[in-house]
């Protein structure tokens, strides 16, 4: 293969290991250690993308994660991943990359017509048109805009990869592994501190990896890095090294989110490995050493392929051994571009000119460039470029003159200066300050236990970065309580300091209203767009951002924000800090949804709670429903039965003989202590003081507003001990509610609350034969009707296992609920089942339970109630302890609206046509065909076919329902009204005789 675009020096790329990859279907060669961007540049490919709005041809401009232009899609099929930055994509053999946002091809893109329409498509143009007629926006304009917008495409297939997460604690987290970060990690680690060092790049070393001439303590910079990393690696017990790991978010209490890219760089990753890993790190102290971003220069046509940041080009040459061009023009306002020019010259690039915007450039680097024979012009601006898919000339002009010189070239290097990366600092809620002299925002006062070091702090020289780093590492370790470390210094040689910088648009002799000088490359925001925005009254930088979309692209303004701010400030005639900054939000660079969701998928999305009889029910062919986290047996169909048939059979069997039901999911709370009864008096409407030990009561819980919140049967186990049951879904809410009151309102009460939901398995045996079924299994409890009446609880044994045996009923039949330690749940269930079979009893599920309780008019909280229903609405006034001085919700019950005569009340409904089953949720009206806008009287809350009634029936909440007994109302449905008769809500055994047998 041709090595013509490879520099003599191979940099950190291994030229003995060639790799093959494709870009837009064409095969190219690269080497191990290349990124997609460096390999494409080595193959002479600059055109890597198209811009968002105008579809302008774009080349790679950076060498890092702040790349706005060279976004590509990598992989195919289910692993197709859009919008990756080419300088961040590590090359592997067989890599398949495609360009985006171009049709039919990257070099000929029809969408580029937008570029010709650009005089119309200025900032905010879409707010000013596309308004007529009203419907055309959705039907016509928006679809066109949507198709044109967007960058890459999403795969249509589910992602086959998996993701992981780890929680970690450390003394010192160091973000960034350039000179400052490595020094900080070293000095902290040497004190014995537990250190985590992360860097978004594949290799540690940061800018040191691109240093050709610098020596540290007499060693080449790269060797110093190698030794530093080796030293850290040797401390594997206390130091965790995380390359390819982006610290993306800084949250409260020194909690940081990191994402580690584990396999994206591998051709054939071990399928056991996660693709990304989310690290959730709680650090005692943090050192931010995030470096700085080189700024583009805003000049007309500053976006052609072949125009790139100077230091990025230097990185490609030094680190990857690539010559990004043959003849280069350098446009700068900062000394660092001179170093780039010198290094590129050494790599074989002809430097035609360095045009420095500054009046003078007499630092050591400009002097060195002149000494190397490079043409250096000061007071000279770059004012344009020519070329189509690649730049072919740079236009330059002396400041204050109209003359423009065209200098043929295939590469323009630009450097407007450096912007400290203050993102994480700002996310930590630290306040930024504007350094007027250097025109940069730098970290001010810290809000959390962190400090910045190196370029992100505004330090400009390599020596300062090392000094910052070592000091920051020592300080962090000491503050984290580790040993005092020794101050370290390094001796630097071969480095020339660089200073300078320029913000805003470069002056040029063209009509500013006609040229395009890009500020935000990806979103095609130009200097004139920003001026237009300020002209239109967008005076806050937030308005400028939102109106022009500057800073809203996938680099989130890393390259553009400071230039945009300066242009806006100038247009408004205000100092930069007065215009303000937009908020730095996480993530620092985009992170995959997969990493965020990590293990929480499929069955692990939420814990699956199963009762002890789950496997048994499954074997019986039960169908399950989700209730909260629980899987509950819904019904047990026999062969050939649908749900309807199964439920009718189950209902009939329970009423004729008996049924066995797993009630384990109901919440259970043990309320214990000398003040337990008093506490219960406050939390529930019912009176508890006089409830005898061994007896149960239906408990009703209200919220403060007086509405029913939960219910359940409560047994008094001892003077100071209640066994409270709650609804299945309400269990956590009720416990929280109880704890809330106990801890904040009644801390004087001596009560302890324990959730025992999962400690007990509960087998409900319901039906006329219930007693006969359990009798042979029970030890030490007289379960006769006389000795153990309805609503009582006894302690004893079943099959030798301790039990809390409740006599209670949610079906209207004689019933027992056997509470046993959950480990015995299945065994006891099977023992009961064996007895039950002797009476041809059945196992039944939640649906049958719902029907049977509805026949008795028993409510289900959440079905008959919706947070707006009072005890009186439900006919449950009997459950209120009238003599009690107080309980939660009591005061609210007397509010005017809660005692109104027309409140919705629980009633029964019978359809005039007995086989019609109403739809739950259907509305109830006075007339059959109400006009739109008619108020409903109420709605159907529960509706079933009843085996015992031989017809359908329903429960409903109806305005003044109890006064409407016998009245005919209507349920209007799309295919016509259904006439219903209002009845009492109790349809079965109104006297309750069956409960007391």
């Amino acid at each position: 293969m041709s090595l013509t675009l490879r520099a003599k020096r191979s940099g950190r790329v291994d030229r003995t290991k060639p790799l093959s990859f494709t870009f837009d279907g064409k095969t190219y060669r690269g080497f191990e250690g290349d990124t997609l961007a460096s390999a494409l540049l080595a193959n002479g490919v600059h055109l890597m993308g198209r811009s968002f709005k105008y579809h302008r041809p774009r080349g790679v401009i950076t060498a890092g994660s702040d790349e706005p232009n060279a976004l590509v899609s990598v992989g195919s099929g289910a692993r197709h991943t859009p919008n990756l930055r080419a300088p961040q994509v590590e090359l592997y053999d067989g890599l398949v990359a495609k360009s985006q946002n171009a049709w039919p091809s990257l070099s000929f893109d029809v969408g580029a017509i937008n570029n010709f329409l650009s005089p119309l498509f200025v900032a905010g143009f879409y707010y000013k048109t596309f308004m007529w007629p009203n419907v055309a926006w959705k039907k016509l304009y928006e679809p066109i805009i949507r198709r044109a917008a967007g960058l890459g495409t999403a795969s249509s297939e589910p992602d086959p990869d998996h993701y992981s997460t780890r929680f970690a604690h450390c003394d010192v987290l160091v973000v960034g592994s350039g000179p400052a970060g490595l020094s900080a990690a070293l000095s902290a680690a040497r004190t014995g501190a537990r250190v985590i060092l992360c860097d978004e790049q594949a290799e540690f070393g940061g800018s040191l990896l691109s240093e050709l001439h610098a020596t540290v303590d007499g060693k080449p910079a790269a060797q110093w890095v190698e030794e530093a990393v080796a030293e850290l690696k040797a401390l594997a017990g206390t130091v965790t090294l995380l390359p390819r790991t982006q610290a993306f978010g800084y949250f409260a209490q020194n909690f940081l989110g990191l994402v580690e890219r584990v396999t994206d760089h591998l051709a054939t990753p071990d399928p056991k490995l996660p693709r990304d890993r989310l690290w959730q790190v709680r650090a005692k102290e943090v050192v931010i050493a995030a470096g700085a971003h080189e700024r583009p220069m805003v000049f007309p046509d500053n976006d052609r392929p072949g125009i790139m940041l100077a230091d990025a080009a230097r990185t490609y040459a030094n680190r990857y051994g690539v010559r990004p061009g043959g003849r280069a023009v350098v446009a700068t306002a900062h000394d660092s571009a001179y170093q780039a020019a010198l290094d590129l010259k050494a790599a074989g690039v002809s430097i035609e000119l360095i045009a420095d915007l500054r009046k003078e450039a007499n630092g050591p680097l400009p002097m060195a460039a002149r000494a190397a024979g490079i043409r250096v012009e000061t007071g000279m601006a770059i004012t344009g470029s020519t070329g189509r898919l690649r730049v072919n000339a740079a236009l330059v002009s002396k400041l204050g003159t109209d003359g423009e010189e065209a200098i043929p070239c295939d590469l323009i290097l630009m450097c407007g200066g450096w912007t400290p990366s203050v993102h994480l600092f700002s996310q930590s809620r630290g306040k930024l300050v504007f350094d007027d002299a250097r025109q940069v925002f730098i970290p001010g006062e810290s809000a959390q236990a962190e400090r910045s070091a190196g370029a992100c702090k505004g330090s400009e020289t390599l020596a300062q970065a090392f000094e910052d780093g070592f000091a920051a590492g020592l300080d962090a370790a000491a503050k984290a309580g580790c040993a005092q470390g020794k101050a370290t210094q390094v001796k630097l040689a071969g480095v020339l300091d660089a200073h300078g910088g320029f913000l805003g648009a470069v002056p040029h002799p063209h009509d500013a209203g006609r040229v395009k000088a890009f500020v935000d490359y990806q979103n095609d925001v130009t200097a004139k767009d920003i001026k237009l925005a300020t002209r239109e009254g967008m005076r806050s930088i937030e308005h400028v951002k939102r109106y022009t979309t500057t800073g809203m692209a996938t680099d989130q303004g890393k390259l553009s924000n400071m230039n945009a701010l300066a242009i806006a400030a100038e247009a408004l005639g205000k100092p930069i800090p007065a215009v303000g900054l937009t908020t730095f939000r996480q993530p620092y660079t985009p992170i995959s949804f997969g990493a965020m969701a990590n293990h929480s998928r499929g069955d692990l999305f939420d814990p699956v709670r199963k009762t002890a009889t789950h496997a048994w029910a499954e074997a019986q062919g039960a169908v399950f429903e989700d209730v909260g986290l629980w899987k509950r047996a819904w019904y047990f169909p026999h062969a050939g039965e649908d749900m309807h048939a199964a439920v009718l059979r189950e209902c009939k069997t329970v009423r004729d003989s008996a049924g066995v039901f797993d009630a384990s999911t109901l919440g259970k709370i043990e309320v214990v202590g000398p003040d337990a009864a008093e506490f219960m008096n406050i939390l529930y409407t019912n009176p508890w003081s006089k409830l005898e030990v061994g007896r149960c009561r239906y408990g009703l819980m209200l919220n403060e507003a007086g509405f029913v919140m939960d219910d359940g049967v409560v047994g008094r186990i001892a003077e100071d001990r209640f066994h409270v049951t709650t609804t299945t879904g309400g269990a956590p809410r009720v416990l929280n509610h109880m704890e809330d009151y106990l801890q904040t309102e009644f801390p004087n009460l001596k009560v302890a609350l324990t959730s025992t939901t999962e400690q007990y398995s509960v087998v409900a045996v319901q039906g006329p034969n219930a007693r006969k079924i359990i009798a042979p299994l029970i030890d030490g409890i007289d379960i006769s009707n006389e000795a153990m009446p309805h609503m009582s609880v006894r302690l004893g044994k079943i099959c030798g296992v301790p039990t809390r045996l409740f006599r209670m009923s949610f079906t209207g039949e004689l019933g027992f609920e056997v509470n046993v330690p959950a480990d015995y749940g299945q065994a006891i269930w099977e023992a009961i089942w064996a007895e039950a079979q002797k009476y041809e009893a059945c196992a039944y599920g939640t649906e049958t339970m719902h029907v049977l309780r509805a026949e008795k008019g028993y409510i289900i909280v959440g079905q008959e109630t919706d947070g707006t229903v009072t005890p009186n609405d439900l006919g449950l006034d009997w459950a209120i302890g009238k003599a009690k001085p107080d309980f939660v919700g009591k005061r609210s019950l007397t509010r005017p609206d809660l005692v109104k005569a027309d409140r919705k009340q629980l009633v029964g409904l019978l359809t005039v046509e007995p086989q019609t089953v109403l739809e739950e949720g259907a509305q109830i009206t006075l007339i059959g065909n109400p006009p739109a806008g008619t108020s409903a009287l109420g709605h159907v809350t529960s509706s079933y076919q009843s085996a015992v009634l031989g017809r359908s029936f329903a429960l409903a909440i109806v305005s003044a329902g109890r006064a409407r007994m016998g009245e005919t109302l209507y349920v209007p449905m799309p295919d016509g009204p259904i006439a219903v008769t209002v009845t009492d809500p109790v349809f079965y055994d109104k006297e309750g005789a069956k409960l007391h047998v």
């Binding site: 879409y126 009203n134 002209r535 806050s540 079905q863």
Partner: protein, 416 residues
């Protein structure tokens, strides 16, 4: 200058040099007939309707920061009216009807896009609740229809309806007239139109106190730009309403929480509608720019910090990835927070107050954007006539005393 394609083309000829400011930047006058505190969508809209429908043009909107900078500019832009209670239906449907014509009314393209809002049911309980909504809406003439899982997938092809999901989709309620709009444009559109009618919008002007006469009636506001007299004050300060109302000694039944949202990097269109799942806490749409716009939950504790916990975001994205497994490789571009003011019944307060001349519009919780035009319209009526419009008559502060709550959250059994 009118916004139109013709004017856009004309201005293009002169490089857009002659577009005027969209709103004026006046200094405050000594006194106004009415003052609105808070230049979000609801506040600016209130001023617009006061000027347009009630002829009150000597009015000002005071804004602590930049207009549209609160929840108006940081929400997920969902619009729908398929609420359960008739009071809510009336208010939100009034709003949807105004949305339908808002771009032409304001001469500002607010990009109202009725793409359909689909709410997913994952449990038997969800089905009962959503069908109740469907029936209740039909009775009021509000579109809302029940879809099978297959029909839901047809409407949103990337939806996962596999029965093997942890919480399989059992159906969905779809409001076709629901959709999205461009949030900033709503604030800007109202601001431009109101300013053109003479409303003074005063940015960077923080209210520090409310002055009252011995009878208790308001007489003006103390601000960072001095005292401004007025007899009518409408407070529309979202998460900071309690603070402002405290200046008039009115204690509000509000709690403020950070609510988060996020967007993905832009991609080509994959999402034709809005999908919401209350049960597993996820909602998503796609912006015209191509970003997936995703709503997350509120933090569990009250705060005025416009950011939230990481676990809230991860929990939202795991739900999103379950519903749409093909987006798992996409990436989060930006995650932010806003402060939402929540009432005990999760419905807003649009009401007179115990203080004469003081009116309040707040408590929108997580869902205020959709109501912007309707809320502003009836709040303007309330201020101008000193009595509520029939549509907001039920949304009083008093209801927390009388018990006449409008509890949508309890009805939907969701936390937000």
């Amino acid at each position: 200058m009118r916004f139109s394609f013709l004017n856009l083309a004309k201005q293009a000829l002169s490089a857009h040099r002659h577009w005027p400011e969209q709103w004026r930047f006046p200094e405050p006058k000594a006194a106004y007939d009415a003052i609105i505190i808070g230049a979000g969508g609801h506040g600016l809209g209130t001023a617009y309707y006061l000027a347009k429908e009630h002829g009150l043009r000597n009015i000002a909107v005071l804004e602590k920061g930049w207009l549209g900078g609160g929840n108006t500019g940081r929400n997920t832009t969902i619009i729908r009216s398929n609420y359960l209670w008739e009071e809510s239906q009336g208010l939100y449907e009034h709003s949807v009807k105004l949305w339908e014509n808002l771009s032409s009314e304001l001469n500002y393209n607010v990009m109202y896009s009725p793409r359909g809002v689909m709410m997913l049911a994952h449990t038997v309980h969800d089905i009962q609740v959503f069908k109740r909504h469907v029936h209740a809406n039909r009775l009021q003439g509000i579109d809302n229809e029940w879809l099978t899982p297959e029909e839901a997938k047809e409407f949103c092809p990337i939806l996962n309806i596999s029965p093997n999901m942890r919480y399989p989709i059992l159906g969905a309620a779809l409001q076709r007239r629901g959709g999205t709009a461009r949030h900033d444009a709503v604030a800007w559109g109202y601001a431009r139109a109101a300013s053109a009618m003479g409303v003074d919008i005063i940015q960077n002007c923080e209210v520090k106190g409310i002055r009252r006469d011995p009878s208790g009636a308001v007489t003006g506001v103390e601000t960072t730009k001095g005292f401004i007299g007025t007899k009518k004050i409408g407070v529309v300060a979202a998460g900071h309403t309690s603070v402002v109302m405290g200046m008039a000694d009115v204690r509000m039944p509000l709690e403020s929480y950070p609510l988060q949202a996020l967007v993905s990097e832009p991609i080509k269109p994959i999402m034709p509608c809005v999908v919401m799942s209350n049960t597993i806490h996820a909602y998503m749409s796609q912006s015209d720019k191509g970003e997936l716009v995703i709503g997350a939950g509120t933090d569990a504790y009250t705060s005025y910090s416009q950011t939230g916990g990481l676990h809230i975001t991860t929990h939202t994205l795991d739900a999103i990835c379950e519903l749409f497994p093909n987006v798992r490789r996409l990436r989060m571009l930006r995650n932010w927070g806003g402060i939402v003011d929540v009432t005990p019944d999760r419905s807003p307060i649009l009401s007179k107050t115990p203080v004469k001349g003081l009116y309040v519009n707040c408590g929108w919780g997580t869902g205020g954007f959709k109501a912007t035009p309707g809320s502003a319209n009836v709040f303007a009526h309330t201020i101008a006539k000193d009595e509520p419009h029939p549509i907001n008559a039920a949304f009083t502060i008093d209801r927390f005393k009388t018990g006449r709550l409008i509890d949508e959250a309890a009805a939907a059994a969701v936390a937000h």
